[in-house]
Amino acid sequence: MADPVLATHGISKSFGALKASDDVSIDLRPGEIHAIIGPNGAGKSTLIAQICGTLMPDAGSVHLLGRDVTQQSTRARAKAGLGRTFQISALAMQDTVLQNAVLGALGASGRPWRFLSPALEDADLRARAEAALERVGLQDHAATRTAELSHGQRRQLEVAVALTLEPSVFVMDEPMAGLGSEGSKRLTGFLDELRHEAPILLVEHDMDAVFTLADRISVLVYGKVIASGSIDEIQSDRQVREAYLGEDA
């Protein structure tokens, strides 16, 4: 079996008496989509925050491409190849769609200290940004102010910004949230191809998407991974059905 690209080893995080992450060990292997599901308040976002470096775990470690990155900043992890999308769109709303994509390309280039040449006339940055927009289908909206995009288009732009980084790993926090069934279907198809470029750790509520895409699923309840395995294994797991799928076993 190939070495995992991303892994957490027994990470725990408490907020007072609340255990938001309780000894969580998950991994992500090349070419796969690993979905994290769980009810609201299960600690999915806290887990993502620790993987991406916005929260420091109380115990345990995070490994990215075989390196321990537990002590590293969000910035360092991004440079090391982690591409993240946010649950609630974190985009520069006053800027155009293209400017948001160019920001990603600029981050990837690592050369923001240029003060006189216009960013949008930089051929490399622009080509990279436009390619990413085209892949998510936003090429016709490049000049639109981001605040004027529909909710679904903002989700697409989130993905496009992550694409400009050409990361080795994607971590996506509910990319389907608020998309209509049409948009959700389109994004599902896109992620299905994307996994061959870089594996995806996918936190998602949309069960259709999860069951279509996931190679493996881990179920998080009260901060604990109560089950992990293939779709069939999860669907037939008694604990999961009780705790999450809400069925009497």
């Binding site: 991406c52 916005t54 900043s73 969000t74 910035r75 991004a78 440079k79 993240r84 946010f86 974190a90 985009l91 520069a92 709303m93 006053q94 800027d95 155009t96 293209l98 400017q99 948001n100 160019v102 920001l103 990603g104 600029l106 981050g107 990837a108 690592g110 050369r111 923001p112 200290w113 240029r114 003060f115 006189l116 040449s117 216009p118 960013a119 949008l120 930089d122 940055l125 000049a143 102010r145 910004v161 400009t164 980084l165």
Partner: protein
């Protein structure tokens, strides 16, 4: 609605036409007023880099304005008394040369901005405002107690400093110098706003977590913006001291910081010409209303209130409408 670029051109035209008329009509006082407006505009263009692009509400920019002023005052004072600024470990002589004074003002205020920004950027919001205010007050009280350079009374410089090839004692020539600098800095900041640095800074103001997620350092971007901002305001301070041939702790006062910010709010935050329009309006009101009543600031306050309540984009926003996404 008038497109913003035409409005900008009209504002700039005022800076050419009015002094040209005043020169022709032999009205040196009008030229001095316009010089004052140009220098205030420059100071505010500096603050606008931090405030408009970086979202850094600094209530301590008088520190840089004052450092620029004292850089001029101290160098020129030693030149006119023919004493060295310092003798150990190496000798620094005073100077009356404007380019040297400007460079000193820029370097010293940039250094001060680096230190102040480095410490202040650990905070944000109201705390950032308070800590920059506190730094400004530190410089104010230091200058009051610095008796070697006049303390509370300040320093008078007998003759305006020199610029190669110009007679700076002629108001119109000194004005031309100030206007040239203002135009150069406006050109620089307009390029800056569109540069890769400007794009990243613009995003760091709106969504710092996004900027970090693409691998850029949001705090460092803001720090560099603060340094550039301080350096420009410092240069304006050196010119202001030269205009008055006088420098005093008032340049360091928090009222000065407030005034610089008021120029921007009147004109329009983050608009290229916002600070220029604001400074122009301020100097005009100061002159015309100040002639009518000693309490003219009441009217300025009313204007400010109206603009903040009804026209968030300042005067530029009121005339030319919402800012277009520049691209």
């Amino acid at each position: 609605m008038i497109a913003e670029r035409y409005l900008n051109a009209a504002i700039l035209a005022i800076f050419f036409v009015v002094p040209a008329w005043a020169w022709w009509a032999n009205e040196p006082f009008t030229i001095t007023l316009m010089t004052r407006a140009a220098i205030f505009a420059l100071a505010a263009v500096g603050l606008n880099v931090a405030l408009g692009l970086g979202g850094l509400v600094s209530l301590g920019h008088a520190a840089f304005f004052g450092i620029g002023g004292y850089a001029m005052g101290i160098l020129a004072f030693h030149a006119q008394t023919v004493t060295p600024v310092m003798e150990w470990p190496f000798v620094i002589e005073g100077t009356k040369s404007m380019p040297v004074i400007w460079l000193t003002a820029i370097v010293l205020s940039a250094l001060a901005a680096l230190v102040i920004g480095h410490l202040s950027l650990r905070t944000s919001g109201v705390y950032f405002i308070m800590i920059t205010l506190a730094f400004g007050q530190m410089f104010f009280f230091f200058s009051i107690s610095w008796s070697a350079y006049g303390g509370e009374d300040g320093l008078s410089i007998w003759v305006r400093n020199d610029f190669p090839g110009l007679n700076t004692l002629q108001p119109i020539q000194f004005y031309g110098l100030c206007l040239a600098i203002l135009c150069a800095v406006l050109w620089f900041t307009s390029r800056l706003a569109r540069s890769p640095f400007g794009l990243a800074l613009n995003a760091a103001r709106q969504v710092p977590q996004r900027v970090e997620t693409v691998g850029l350092n949001a705090t460092r971007l803001k720090l560099v913006a603060f340094v550039i901002s301080g350096a420009i305001t410092g240069l304006a301070g050196a010119l202001f001291a030269d205009l008055n041939r006088f420098v005093s702790p008032t340049m360091f006062s928090w009222q000065m910081s407030g005034e610089i910010m008021v120029f921007i709010i009147i004109g329009g935050v983050a608009r290229l010409f916002g600070p220029v329009a604001g400074a122009l309006v301020f100097v005009a009101l100061e002159h015309f209303l100040g002639g009518l009543s000693d309490y003219w600031l009441v009217y300025l306050g009313a204007l400010l209130l109206l603009i903040v309540l009804f026209g968030r984009g300042g005067l530029i926003g009121i005339v030319s409408g919402r800012e277009k996404a520049h691209g």
